[in-house]
């Protein structure tokens, strides 16, 4: 009996793990990153289900209606996190705010990654004239004082296009420089490999070489960078909204909710209005950063853990 099992084990050689499987195992073993992932999933789910959750959790599920009878109530059994100065339920607004903050963060990250990867890959792959033109342009974008230009552009475009998408496009269009540089340097190193020469010599078009051969080898870097950029974008959105130049005031976002802390009496005497968004912004940013660090570790074949 014992001998038969050893035979079957010998018959089935254990398959070695794929790089993605190794990365997944490493990531799951990273406690901090896993806790952070759960937190982010929780926040996302709560934000997505805001329209269904709000009527259950609060007697005032309407986020846009001003309730004169319920202004600035401290947290109690009815309003779990209290109400703000216009009598709107803080918890409900927190859920709805998450929708906007995460949407802006995610869409802006998509724009940044797409633009940055495209510019970086083209510059790195073709080199020469195209490279210097594209990199000059990247330097130019990187040399802008970011916040200054976002605010000025937002002021000009405001009212022409819907506020939310203006913000997403402006911050996306001004932040891709770093990604472009990173992808370019990775592509430069990667294209020296012989498989690229092989692919070119059998007649693959440059487009196919970039998308099928180069980018899959750069994708782990892009994923890690994308995670960290996602955190940055959420910070930028909330900072701009806090200053009053981001998402229109009527739409609740975490930054907009926090901007009530601009009024000294709210900041001093009504901490339940501004503390929840402040805490959730900080926790979200921290979690995303931990996930990014975890991914960096997991996707790095040199780190053995």
């Amino acid at each position: 009996m014992a001998s038969s099992t050893t035979i079957t084990q010998q018959k089935k050689p254990e398959r070695s793990l794929s790089p993605w499987q190794i990365a997944r195992r490493k990531f799951i073993r990273n406690k901090l990153a896993m806790i952070s992932s759960f937190f982010i999933v929780l926040v996302t789910l709560m934000s997505l289900s805001a329209p269904f959750l709000a009527p259950v959790l609060s007697p005032l599920p309407d986020i846009s209606k001003v309730n004169i009878g319920a202004m600035s109530i401290e947290p109690n059994g009815e309003h779990l996190l209290g109400t703000d100065k216009s009598g709107r339920d803080v918890l409900t607004r927190l859920f709805y705010g998450g929708r906007i903050s995460l949407l802006v963060g995610f869409s802006a990250t998509l724009i940044v990654i797409t633009l940055g990867t495209a510019v970086g890959a083209l510059a790195g792959f073709f080199g020469g004239f195209i490279d210097s033109i594209l990199m000059r342009f990247t330097d130019f974008v990187l040399n802008f004082p970011f916040l200054v230009f976002v605010i000025v552009l937002n002021t000009i475009l405001y009212g022409i296009v819907d506020g939310l998408w203006v913000l997403i496009m402006v911050i996306g269009a001004l932040s891709w420089g770093g990604v472009a540089r990173l992808v370019r340097s990775k592509v430069l190193a990667e294209k020296e490999n012989e498989y690229i020469l092989a692919a070119l010599s059998i007649g693959c078009s440059p487009f196919k070489v970039i998308t099928k051969h180069l980018l899959p080898n750069v994708v782990s870097t892009i994923i890690v960078q994308g995670t960290l950029i996602f955190a940055t974008m959420i910070v930028i959105e909330s900072a701009l909204s806090y200053l009053g130049f981001g998402v229109p005031q009527a739409t609740p976002s975490w930054g907009n909710m926090l901007s009530s802390a601009n009024e000294p009496d709210v900041l001093q005497g009504k901490p339940w209005i501004w503390m929840p968004p402040a805490i959730i912004i900080t926790l979200t940013i921290l979690s995303i950063n931990f996930i990014g660090e975890g991914l960096k570790d997991a996707l790095n074949p040199k780190s053995l853990r």
Partner: protein, 321 residues
């Protein structure tokens, strides 16, 4: 080195021209007269506006307007603020000392904190203290500056009453007296700590890693073999080598402080360049806005250039030409 610096300085010129063209186009896209501020926005008489437009050369072709504007700009003619009815140049000059004071105090705080933490971590790597410092720095890096600022005001200004929560000086203090300067320092301290703590993390980690790396080098072994006390090796031999690369951070800090100042000054209602910038947006004071945009872009560009050049000066192994 000199050759390289000169080449980089010359390379900055096309960038400056490009940025000025972008700013000019933005100004032209804005409603009304956003460059000179000479046209009274309250006077809606079409004949008056037409006369003023003709007088100010707004009917000239765009390239001519651009050249006129930029040649005035280099000579310090920034136009007139529509809100205060005084030249923008004077307005900016009035606010610059406050921002400089804030920026320099923040830098000093960054350096002190980073030195203390970095030297401790570098000497005792992978200990509890090192991990605690790394954790603290990680959290400081992740917390958005405006959230940190709001919490700082709530805790230190309102709950503990240690610092004032707004302004740059006590109104009652007599200008020039000792109390006046004391009050200014007192007002600048809290925003400076918040602003300074933002960049502490990168300095600390850099110093820590550099000290660890240097402590394995041959000159340290020689010093130890000669019987030099460990304290002296760390505080003199290693530190002297590890400080130098930190200089390059100064250039990048320049750009970071500009962005940081806009947010911090606004939250602390500290009357500096950053607050002036945001107020000029909200009050539609376009000439001030455009002059500041130009100025801040120039400073960012200058900061990046400074970082590049210092990098080469400090580390002779890097020869970029």
């Amino acid at each position: 080195m000199l050759k390289y610096s000169i080449r980089r300085l010359l390379g900055m010129i096309p960038m400056l021209i490009l940025i000025s063209i972008v700013v000019f186009s933005l100004a032209k896209l804005m409603p009304g007269d956003s460059l000179s501020g000479e046209i009274d926005p309250l006077n809606t008489d079409p004949q008056y506006i037409a006369e003023m437009r003709e007088k100010l050369g707004y009917n000239d072709p765009l390239p001519v307007q651009y050249v006129n504007w930029i040649s005035g700009f280099v000579q310090g003619e920034f136009g007139k603020s529509t809100r205060f009815q005084i030249p923008v140049f004077d307005l900016i000059m009035e606010k610059i000392p406050n921002t400089l004071l804030l920026g320099i105090t923040a830098l000093i705080i960054t350096y002190i904190m980073a030195f203390l933490m970095g030297m401790y971590s570098g000497r005792r790597p992978y200990t509890l203290g090192d991990n605690a410092i790394a954790g603290f720095n990680y959290v400081m890096l992740a917390i958005p500056s405006f959230v940190a600022a709001v919490f700082a005001i709530y805790i230190f200004a309102f709950q503990l009453n240690w610092f004032p929560f707004a302004g740059s000086v006590d109104i009652l203090a007599e200008q020039g007296s000792f109390e006046y300067y004391l009050s200014r320092m007192h007002h600048v301290l809290l925003p400076a700590i918040v602003l300074g703590a933002m960049s502490t993390a990168s300095y600390t980690q850099f110093l820590r890693n550099d000290i660890i790396e240097n402590s394995r080098k041959d000159f340290v072994r020689t010093a130890r073999a000669k019987g030099t006390p460990m304290k002296k090796i760390y505080n003199v031999h290693i530190l002297r080598n590890s400080i130098i690369p930190l200089v390059t951070f100064l250039g990048f800090d320049f750009a970071a402080l500009i962005g940081g100042a806009i947010i911090t000054e606004t939250i602390f209602t500290y009357p500096g360049i950053g607050q002036l910038f945001l107020e000029s947006v909200t009050s539609r004071d376009y000439p001030t806005l455009m002059a500041l945009t130009m100025l801040l872009s120039f400073l960012t560009l200058f900061g990046n250039l400074l970082a590049d050049i210092l990098y080469g000066v400090v580390d002779p192994r890097i020869r970029l030409d």
